[in-house]
Amino acid sequence: MKQIKLNLNGEIRSVLVDPTETLLDVLRDKLGIKSPKCGCDRGDCGACNVLLNGRSVRSCLILAIETDGQEVVTVEGISQKGLSRVQETMINKNAFQCGFCAPGIIISATELLNNNPHPTLEEIKEALSGNLCRCTGYLPILEAVRESLEGGKNE
């Protein structure tokens, strides 16, 4: 077991981890962060996506010990000071059905919009192509991301 320190959603958290534990398990079971979901535990579905130093990663494929001293942001962090514009448009458009894939998709969309504030539809599709959704057929989600671009910068 090793003590690691994370900047988690803007707060320094230290936690004792086994070298084989994934970031997903440590977030969910030891740090009380439940928004990243375990949909497959092998990097296929994207439900566990988090931002690691600003980049979206599969938290089920990252060992917690590798993230020592780094910055992790989850949907809890993004939502701390009110919801972002893309979250609000997703709500208004009923973009999700069951919502299990939603946290992962918000992470992917946030990463995209941080790096590319005016993506094309193809770029949005590409950015979300690592997130599986079985309920919606993706259309309302893509539309929500696109609609969130209207009227200024996403924050």
Binding site: R28, K34, S35, K37, C38, G39, C40, D41, R42, D44, C45, A47, T74, V75, E76, S79, L83, Q87, M90, I91, N92, K93, N94, F96, Q97, C98, G99, F100, C101, A102, P103, I106, I124, K125, E126, L128, S129, N131, L132, C133, R134, C135, T136, G137, Y138, L139, P140, I141, L142
Partner: protein, 719 residues
């Protein structure tokens, strides 16, 4: 028809919505299932690994069952756990629990089971081609008339195959059970569609050991599509047994590979059609259907899938002489179960491809052929139920018109001459009966409870679950819109069998159609009886009457009757109708089909919440697209796929444009919607490929591999 934002939209977006795996209880331990890797055999020996403290584990087998080792619903023929014999791969042998997930997983991996193997049927082809494998009740729909076959009638014969389909709900199956010895109650938290099925299952396995099982769903149910209709019964039974034996709360979450390997799937089918068509009138005169489903090792709910399948097997065609035979076939694979469409996607895969086959034999446009043969008011289904509206034909005409079908057909024909790649356009049409088949709704006898509080808050208690489809938003909407009550004063409560009466399972496109309609009628009834125009004002001026509780019961329509033995009569009171056009682009070098656009025109009656309704159509279309094009679940000599790495569901990059139009929206009835958008698109995609490449394929999915094989050896293309 108003768009109301879903009540759960916000918590689902800020990460606070709780799914089953987000919940923990004090002292909770983790469970896993040990299941058979042998398809058929006798269990000789179970050997536990030596380097573990056995007494740290709670282990249950069939011997620990206090009640009956038989899942009571739907068809009581499946044991919860294997006794000394296993009948299929994935059959549960042991439930095992431990405080540490990691220790548990490594322990289970090292358990060795020796089997004496017995002959097994593991391949779909082996299962469906051999008539010795039939089991359960055969269904015959006999609508034969004394029609003499004419020698010039065109005989069209084809066998159509459809594969397994995995639900691929994003949240895997899971259960938490908590045993309370003080009141002898088993509390079960479930991600499920049918809390009362789970209750009956837990009470069956626990027998006299408990007084009662109380089932509450988790706040979030991460998709279901039929997959959480019957498997949760088995899982809840075993989890409860572990909770009882260990005395601790037990959570079992299946990992994705286990979920793929041992839970239910869509039934593979083999549907053989013979038709005889008069070349003069272009009318189908005679249809013979042999409809077979691979049920898996046990019947469970296959008999009802079969009955819905055969009732939809003749499609939207008026055929004077029809004979339909439906049978279940046994295999040594996990029982197949409910999946959105419930036998209808298979039925339409056959009849809608066959319509195009006959049309090409007649050298006729598939739309014109359908127009010539579509049923009209006064015609009847093979069950003798009368057709009372021409809405199917209206859907067909409208979808052809708005997709510019005729023009595109001509354009593509010309374009294809000059190009190696091909463009294609295809049609399909279908219908889906709402609610349980035949007398089912009468037998279900659904109940609803409503409490109106002193502050005019209306609490709705139903066992219908919201698994993402928006049922709880729409159900509340049907109540408050009927009497113009404020939206924020009307809520559907979380299903809990100790508080919510049995309003039946959340299946069969019945939730809005049956339960929603009951709520709407009830709202109007109390308005009438109490004589109010504004419920809030009425409650304020009659404070002593509140809180008040109401019980509502389903009232069957006395004019509706169905003969279950002969499959005659009103199979479904109301049908939803739909027609579809799809446009594809075929990449000849890679044998890939790219779906460009789907046009849907549906009559679902009154769409209560347009956005939610459109969401159902979009989601259903994309599941159907996966079914038609990419979702390969089982391969001979390989077995089942084990996750999303090898089972390809559509991604955001794959999706086509989708156009949706509802007609007859001013209807008083909100008909079934959940399933029909999954039923009809796959044949339209297949037909579009036929139109593009001139290659007739009788089996899904139309993967590049299958197309390549079909081109290189047209006679032997089953893969």
């Amino acid at each position: 028809m108003r768009d109301i934002r879903k009540f759960d939209a916000r918590p689902k977006l800020d990460g606070s919505w709780k799914f089953l795996d987000d919940i923990t209880y004090e002292g909770m331990i983790y469970g896993q299932l040990l299941y058979s890797t042998c398809h058929h055999g006798i269990i000789k020996k179970i050997q536990f690994p030596k380097d573990f403290e056995l007494n740290e584990f709670t282990i249950v087998s069939a011997k620990d069952i206090v009640g009956k080792n038989l899942v009571p619903e739907p068809e009581p023929d499946q044991p919860f756990m294997a006794e000394d014999k296993v009948s299929h791969f994935g059959q549960i042998i042991l439930g095992i629990a431990h405080p540490s997930k990691r220790t548990l997983i490594s322990f289970i991996k090292q358990i060795q089971i020796d089997y004496q193997e017995l002959p097994a049927i593991t391949d779909i082809e082996e299962c469906l081609e051999n008539e010795d494998n039939v089991f359960g009740r055969e269904i015959i729909i006999d609508h034969r008339r004394e029609i003499e076959l004419e020698s010039n009638w065109i005989h069209s014969h084809e066998i159509y195959y459809t594969p397994h389909q995995e639900h691929a709900y994003m949240e895997p199956q899971g259960i938490i059970s908590i045993w309370n010895p003080a009141d002898r109650k088993m509390f079960v938290k479930a991600t499920c569609q049918c809390p009362y099925f789970v209750k009956h299952a837990v009470e069956a396995i626990m027998g006299k050991a408990i007084n009662e099982a109380v089932i509450e769903t988790s706040e979030g149910i991460g998709g279901a599509f039929g997959g959480k209709e019957d498997f949760p019964n088995v899982l809840a039974g075993i989890t409860s047994l572990l909770a009882y034996k260990s005395g601790k709360p037990v959570k079992i979450m299946l990992d994705r590979a286990d979920d793929f390997k041992i839970t239910t799937n869509r039934h593979p089918s083999r549907i053989e059609l013979h038709t005889y068509t008069d070349p003069a009138t272009k009318k189908i005169m005679k249809l013979n259907v042999d409809y077979r489903l691979d049920a898996g090792a046990y019947q469970t709910l296959s008999p009802v899938v079969l009955s819905r399948g055969v009732l939809h097997a003749s499609g939207g065609y008026n055929i004077p002489d029809v004979y339909i035979r439906g049978r279940l076939f046994r295999s040594n694979t996990p029982s197949n179960g409910a999946f959105r469409g419930f036998g209808v996607p298979q039925a339409l895969a056959a009849i809608e491809a066959h319509a195009d086959k006959i049309a090409s034999q007649l050298n006729m446009d598939p739309y014109d052929f359908r127009k010539t043969n579509i049923f009209k008011v006064g015609n009847e289904f093979p069950s003798t139920q009368k057709i009372t509206e021409n809405h199917l034909e209206e859907c067909l005409d409208r979808v052809v018109q708005k997709s510019d079908y005729r023009k595109k057909l001509q354009e593509f024909k010309e374009w294809n001459v000059a190009h190696k790649d091909k463009k294609g356009i295809g049609i399909s049409m279908g219908y889906h009966g709402g609610g349980y088949t035949g007398n089912g709704e009468k037998i279900l006898n659904s109940k609803i409870k409503i409490i109106i509080e002193k502050d005019a808050k209306v609490k709705i208690f139903v066992s219908s679950t919201d698994m993402g489809q928006g049922a709880h938003t729409t159900l509340a909407q049907m109540f408050f819109e009927a009497i113009k009550h404020p939206r924020e004063k009307c809520w559907v409560q979380l299903p809990n069998t100790s508080k919510t009466p049995d309003s039946g399972p959340t299946v069969a496109s019945r939730t809005i159609y049956i339960i929603g309609t009951m709520l709407q009628k009830f709202a109007l009834k109390i308005k009438d009886e109490m004589g109010f125009t504004n419920l809030e004002e009425y409650v304020a001026s009659h404070q002593s009457d509140f809180p008040r509780e109401f019980q509502i019961k389903f009232t069957p329509d006395p004019t509706v009757s169905f003969d279950d033995n002969n499959f005659r009569g009103t199979a479904y009171k109301d049908y939803s109708w739909a027609a579809c056009v799809s446009e594809i682009y075929y990449h000849a070098d890679t044998y890939q089909i790219e779906l460009k656009k789907i046009w849907n025109v549906l009559d679902i009656g009154h769409p209560v919440n347009l956005k939610i309704a459109e969401g159902q159509v979009e989601g259903g279309n994309i599941q159907a697209m996966g079914y038609a094009l990419t979702e390969f679940f089982y391969k001979k000599d390989f077995g089942r796929m084990q996750g999303f790495t090898d089972y390809s569901i559509p991604l955001s990059l794959d999706i086509p444009e989708i156009d949706i139009e509802f007609i007859h929206t001013d209807s008083d009835v909100a008909k079934g919607l959940g399933e029909i958008p999954m039923d009809y698109p796959a044949p339209a995609i297949r037909n579009a490929f036929h139109n593009a490449a001139g290659i007739f394929i009788n089996e899904y999915p139309l993967t590049p591999e299958r197309i390549f094989k079909q081109i290189s050896s047209p006679k032997n293309h089953r893969i």
